[in-house]
Amino acid sequence: MSAILERPARIDAPAISVRGIAKSYGATEVLRGVDFDVATGTVFALLGSNGAGKTTLVRILATLLKADSGSARVQDREITENPRAVRGAISLTGQFSAVDDVLTGRENLELVARLRHVNGPRESADAALARFLLTDAADRRAGEYSGGMRRRLDLAMSLIGDPPILFLDEPTTGLDPQARAGVWDVVRALAAGGTTVLLTTQYLDEAEQLADRIAILHGGRIVQEGTLAELRRLLPRRAPVLVEPQPTLEDVFLAVVGEGGVAQADPPPDNIEPREGSRS
């Protein structure tokens, strides 16, 4: 657990407030009345299996999709009444990297900086490149980036202009362990800086690691919500068992691959060559 203790004092209105949001596609009811609040400056994890409606909910809150009923306020602005103001306050990182493959990493960042009317788009792109360890790849086309680098560029683009609220829709799906740890570090740093983060994930450990509060979305509703400790109390206390501590496979993997961290995770190791004679 790496709960960050220093958070800005809670401001009266929640950063995100969702009431009775429902959405159907034809006869399929995806969301059947979702309610929750996210306090300013906290990390809220929406946990659910594939198809639980997490992405649908995030797209509704990001003003990309209209709900059939219910209402939601983001930064105290109703999403359907004032979508433009909501878009000014949020940033969305979807499940698939939304980067322009033809442009370089730097050009992608500058594009977003200019569209957000940030003062000094060049400087802000440079700062983002440095922060996300992409300076060396800055002038390569994003289409040539590895999966982890694309995800970092994607996140960097979402953070240009320092939006106070960030939606992260399954940010680590398909990433290798190092890239995943890198994304986690970013989320922790953002939370420490006072950004409100709504995170969807299907990985239980991700919610455990990052979230102040966790909501479980199932059958179109929030079936349980609370801090990790509160959720744990839902189950009866188990008798203590003596277990010999075993390294997890992730520990082993990271130890074998090296402590290089995200920076070295991406270029393929050049000492691996096809065995001679194994192919003709």
Partner: protein
């Protein structure tokens, strides 16, 4: 375990909305200037796409040039055009329209790729006008197609195309081709927004490329059988071709230009309306 990621500090509670409330008029002017700046930035982006895939410009001009060679040097000898001038002078307006019709399919292709890749969704979740994204694609198409048209005209001049058009008539030619491009590009935008696959995104352009063949572009319509001739005389390409031909020949444009403008304006309005509806929904 992972490298440190320095965090850029941000004033607490900052949302960039700390500006005082300006008067509605100032706010309106600011919205417009921001929207224009956004269109400029996004147009720069898609022009870069074109500059980095020059093959798209080449493929756009190769087909019309090949058609021009085929019609002038293979079929042209057997075609009589009454006007008595050289066949390439007769043919060029139709070739230019085919150039545009095949060129606009890249707009729907690029728009579809934007939607598929997620960057379109990113733009839509940002505080920019949704129409800015579409206008950027449209302006890019306008620039790219006018370049293609200029290349084709250059080749036609080398093949013996001659015109007595005055500077005013040339302006008319450019204006009509620009309006034609604008209209077809908005149709391409509708296709790009509605398409479910890459093939679907560009398939709409085949009938548009074919339309000039059933018009006065290559042969006079009175050489066609009754129903075909009727269709050819009443479809928009004939009016546009006749207008361009009259302008190139230094002749009065007559009614053709009004019919052409009415057609293009009507189709343009319908296409823009459909595109904006799709953009709101999609």
């Amino acid at each position: 375990m992972t490298a440190q990621l320095a965090h850029g500090g941000r004033p607490a509670g900052g949302g960039g909305s700390a500006l005082g409330a300006p008067s509605p008029r100032v706010q309106g002017a600011r919205t417009v200037s921001r929207a224009l700046a956004d269109v400029r930035v996004l147009t720069g982006r898609s022009l870069r796409h074109i500059l980095r895939s020059t093959d798209t410009i080449i493929t756009t001009v190769v087909t019309p040039i090949a058609l021009m060679l085929l019609f002038v040097y293979v079929l042209g000898g057997a075609i009589r055009t009454e006007s008595g001038g050289s066949y390439i002078d007769y043919l060029l307006p139709g070739i230019l329209l085919i150039t545009v019709a095949s060129g606009v399919s890249y707009t729907s292709y690029r728009l579809f790729l934007d939607r598929q890749g997620g960057i379109y969704e990113r733009f839509r979740s940002m505080p920019i006008a949704r129409s800015s994204v579409l206008w950027a694609h449209v302006l890019t198409s306008l620039v790219a197609n006018l370049v293609s048209v200029a290349v084709v005209v250059g080749v036609a001049l080398a093949m013996g195309f001659r015109t007595g058009a005055s500077p005013g008539a040339w302006c008319g030619v450019v204006a009509i081709i620009a309006l034609f491009t604008l209209t077809l590009t908005w149709i391409a935008v509708v296709a790009g927004l509605a398409a479910k696959s890459v093939d679907g995104a560009s398939a709409f352009s085949y009938p548009l490329i074919f339309l000039p063949f059933i018009s006065s572009a290559f042969v006079p319509t009175d050489s066609m059988p009754g129903p075909v001739a009727w269709f050819a005389e009443h479809q928009p390409v004939t009016a546009v071709v006749d207008t361009l031909r009259a302008l190139f020949e230094g002749q009065p444009v007559g009614d053709a230009i009004w019919i052409a403008l009415a057609w293009l304006a009507a189709v343009l309005l319908v296409a823009v309306g459909a595109a904006i509806r799709l953009a709101r929904r999609a």
